[in-house]
């Protein structure tokens, strides 16, 4: 169905080809997963299928790409629109019309299908994707998961034989991701649709893949094979694979179910382990590390300090917040103490970002009080507030204004009244090999996050908030982020992460706060809360239940 024949793509002005030696075939009715670290050209390979590379992006494509027998060299993307449906990384950039129903019909209108056919397919797709209740809703009012489903629906209605999806579940909460994947699996199984998909969150998708194409490094020749073959050698892999490699399971299990079947001996070994955890983990001791004292002395000079015996860094008391007509937060009570790492979880639109924005004073509470370091965030002048609390927003680009990394760092030092070079030192710590004159927009997703984190940390806020930090990060970047955040927590920073990534939360957090419809529905130690939840439990927990293990690292430690 899709055939790549020795394809290489070189963009204009690039030193070498972005991808080279791509040569594989996707047979009809298969779901093929494209994996690899970020920046290896996954999006380029996907774009070549729909013809957007090189017709739209420019650059030179050598070799040949054929889709359903049509050569992309002689067919413009619009002439492939009836066989290929493409959904990019950002569904919002994909929408042409205002309402859900019109959006589903748009592609068919362009292809000139008969009105009766369009009507029937729109109704079918609304049912298939569970969008019937949203049919006349303006797209601007939908949540992230709903938008992703509308975007997929909008390319399904013309009945393409090939679907190309770039990170379809990265922005979704676990339950919404499972829904989208269930729909994709149905398309493959029942309708014989061919799907080529790139995704960083392998733990979500690998069980659905028939085959995998692995791009190991930029410009390197891709490997193809069955998921278990590829996973045995892949530099990127989900926790279930890591556990399988650790325990030497053969064949390597890809799903929780396969892994559980082989896990009995491992469970038995772990049962005798001294660090076995059947009881909830105590929240780590919030004693400030020595380095913390240095920051404290800095605050005394420059900013009002919270009372020294103040037990909590931030307190939220019966906070409610209305936005337009929706009640975004209801009666939230929350305290954040020094050295704590809290994972804020819940489905898309549950109020996680709203709560974080309230803590930095971007939003004003309707009722209730918020205090951070003894200050009321929305009434505190920004230069004072950034010494108490820092937020890395969902899109780190919002924080970056300058045109080089060096200028960005200089500006950050000035904003925070820190010694010149403070920010640059932090950047070098987080991103060892980054040059001064690179434009922040040219950085990869993970590098940009690190730069934004450095900018926020320049003011040394004791409370650090991160909104959805792992979106678009590969496992390596995520591992670096985890180690950075761990050392910050050890220094005494309190960290609050709003995230859908249960594996990240399991690695980092001591405490979980679950939000639903603007209310706190659970607040307690990580191990206690996630173990009981089918969608928020990490893979290792599911495999080793009823024992309570959260991460591969813990298991490795216990086996030593």
């Amino acid at each position: 169905m899709i055939r790549f024949e020795d394809v290489s793509v070189t963009y204009e002005g690039a030193a070498g080809p972005t991808v080279a030696g791509v040569d594989f075939e996707v047979p009809e009715g298969e779901l093929v997963l494209l994996a690899g670290p970020s920046g290896v050209g996954k999006s380029t390979v996907l774009g070549a299928v729909s013809g957007l590379v090189p017709h739209f992006t420019g650059g030179t494509l050598r070799g040949r790409v054929t889709v359903a027998g049509r050569d992309t060299r002689t067919h413009q993307p619009r002439e492939l629109a009836d066989v290929v449906g493409t959904v990019g990384q950002d569904p919002l950039a994909h929408f042409v019309t205002d309402t859900v129903e019109d959006e589903l019909a748009y592609g068919m209108e362009s292809l000139g299908l008969a009105p009766a056919v369009m009507r029937r397919r729109v109704e079918e797709t609304l049912d298939l994707l569970g969008l019937a209740a949203l049919r006349s809703r303006p797209i601007a009012t939908l949540s992230g998961g709903q938008r992703q489903r509308v975007a997929i629906g909008s390319v399904l209605t013309p009945h393409p034989r090939v679907l190309v999806l770039d990170e379809p579940t990265s922005a979704l909460d676990p339950a919404a991701a499972e829904e989208v994947l269930a729909v994709l699996q149905r398309l493959v199984h029942d309708l014989g649709t061919t799907i080529l998909m790139a995704e960083h969150r392998l733990e979500r998708v690998i069980q659905y893949a028939d085959r995998m194409v692995l791009l190991p490094a930029p410009g390197a020749t891709p490997l193809t094979g069955t998921p278990s073959e590829i996973m045995a050698v892949s530099p990127v892999h989900p926790p279930v694979i890591a556990l399988g490699r650790l325990a030497d399971w053969t064949p390597l299990p890809l799903t929780i179910r396969d892994a559980r079947r082989q896990a009995a001996p491992l469970r038995a070994r772990l049962a005798d382990s001294p660090s076995r955890r059947d009881s909830p983990t105590p929240v780590s001791d919030p004693t400030p590390a020595p380095r913390q004292h240095r920051f404290r002395s800095r605050f005394r000079r420059t900013a009002p300090t919270p009372a020294p015996h103040h037990p909590h860094l931030a307190e939220v008391h019966s906070l409610s917040l209305r936005r337009d007509t929706t009640q975004a937060l209801r009666h939230i009570d929350l305290t954040i103490s020094q050295g704590e790492t809290i994972a804020l979880m819940g489905r898309n639109g549950a109020g996680k970002s709203t709560l974080l924005n309230t803590l930095v004073g971007l939003l004003t509470p309707t009722t209730g009080t918020v205090t951070v370091g003894g200050l009321t965030p929305h009434r505190t002048p920004p230069p004072t507030l950034i010494r108490q609390v820092g937020l890395v927003p969902q899109d780190p680009r919002d924080l970056l204004y300058a045109d080089t990394v060096a200028a960005e760092c200089a500006a950050a030092d000035k904003d925070a009244e820190a010694a010149p070079g403070t920010c640059r030192a932090l950047v070098s710590e987080l991103l060892p090999d980054i040059s001064d004159d690179i434009h922040p927009r040219d950085l990869s997703e993970g590098q940009r996050l690190a730069l934004a984190l450095a900018v926020v940390l320049t003011a040394r806020p004791p409370l650090l908030l991160l909104d959805e930090p792992t979106r678009g990060l590969d496992y390596a970047a995520k591992a670096r982020l985890v180690s950075v955040l761990r050392s910050l927590a050890a220094e005494g920073h309190a960290i609050v992460l709003a995230t859908h990534d249960v594996e990240l939360a399991a690695e980092l957090a001591h405490r979980v706060v679950l939000l639903a419809e603007g209310e706190v529905i659970a607040d307690g130690p990580m191990a206690e809360i996630v173990v009981s939840s089918p969608s928020f439990a990490p893979q290792v927990t599911k495999i080793l239940a009823p024992q309570r293990w959260l991460t591969v690292a813990e298991v490795r430690e216990a086996l030593k």
Binding site: S50, E109, R121, V122, A132, A133, H159, P381
Partner: protein, 392 residues
Amino acid sequence: MRPGDPGPSRDRGNSVAARAVPRTPGESQPRAPETTPTRFRPTLHPGAWWLWAISLGVAATRTTNPLLLALLLAASGYVVATHRSPAPWARSYTAFVRLALAVLLIRVLFAVALGSPIPGTHTLLTLPEVPLPHWAQGIRLGGRVTAEAVLFAAYDGLKLATLLVCVGAANALASPTRLLKSLPGALYETGVAVVVALTFAPHLIADVRRLRAARRLRGRPDRGLRGLLQVGLPVLEGALERSVALAAAMEARGYGRTAEVPARVRRTTAALTLGGLLGVCAGTYGLLTAEGGTYGLPVLLAGVLAALAGLRLGGRRSPRTRYRPDRWGVHAWLVTGSGAAVAALLTLASVRDPGALHPGVVPLVAPTLPLWPAAAVLLALLPAFAVPREPS
């Protein structure tokens, strides 16, 4: 999804739909009933709302009577309040109302500052007059401000403001994008480009707001002009990136596909369109000049017909079809009719009884409400009662 496969799509659809309904995790409701009532598509043709609003605008230009204008504003506002769509773009009504207020204020301020040709005897206050050089004769800065001049400016400004509010009402009742669906096929692609360009501005404003807020996170004040300038470049970059992404998505979804048409049809299309436009130009010229009174109208009509035929033929090049096109039904006639009646009756009244529709300012008199024109304006309320509401 494909025809002949309705079975599985139904049961999956149900369980997925259950998620779209708000529910708390923990309580498992695999088959939650759809609590949202079935939504009907807005049944009224968007063109009807636009014609209604434009007719009200025309009616507003026929009078300066503040009582009649206020009645028009109230009537259109009431219809908007009952029938506007719940969509975000319907909020533009408030923006239009603010703009109208600004226009009214500016008109009055100009009359105060620059004086007015209206002779008046009731001096309200005297501003210091700025002496101007002789080449600026006829322009006055400051000086006597009379009640008559201010009142005249206020009447005039109110007329303009009413016109603006009527346009705002059209926007709130039917988005321009919906109107686009009724455009002839040959013009559709240009129309999409225009609409995308129009939505560029609101997106840009949203970006500016978001980035200015993010300045707080850097410890910089989020207000003030400097803040605006500093986010300027990132905002433009972001908007450009989004436009390119949208263009790519539209291209990949078949925007701009053309159908093969015989060369003969293509040539006929070009000839008809060009000839038609020339005819329109010549006809208009004829109508406007004194000696062309005889041939002006027929040439204009022929030109319009030829251009329309060209457009229709040109539509063949585009293979587009329309999904659920809006139908022009009884309600559309009612809405358009009520608007047209208001415009016609007020035009008639302005001819028959100009005094009542243009209350004098010299000498100063209190405006009175002329009875039957006021009753005519109330006809504009008909859609509020006759047209079924969109469920919200």
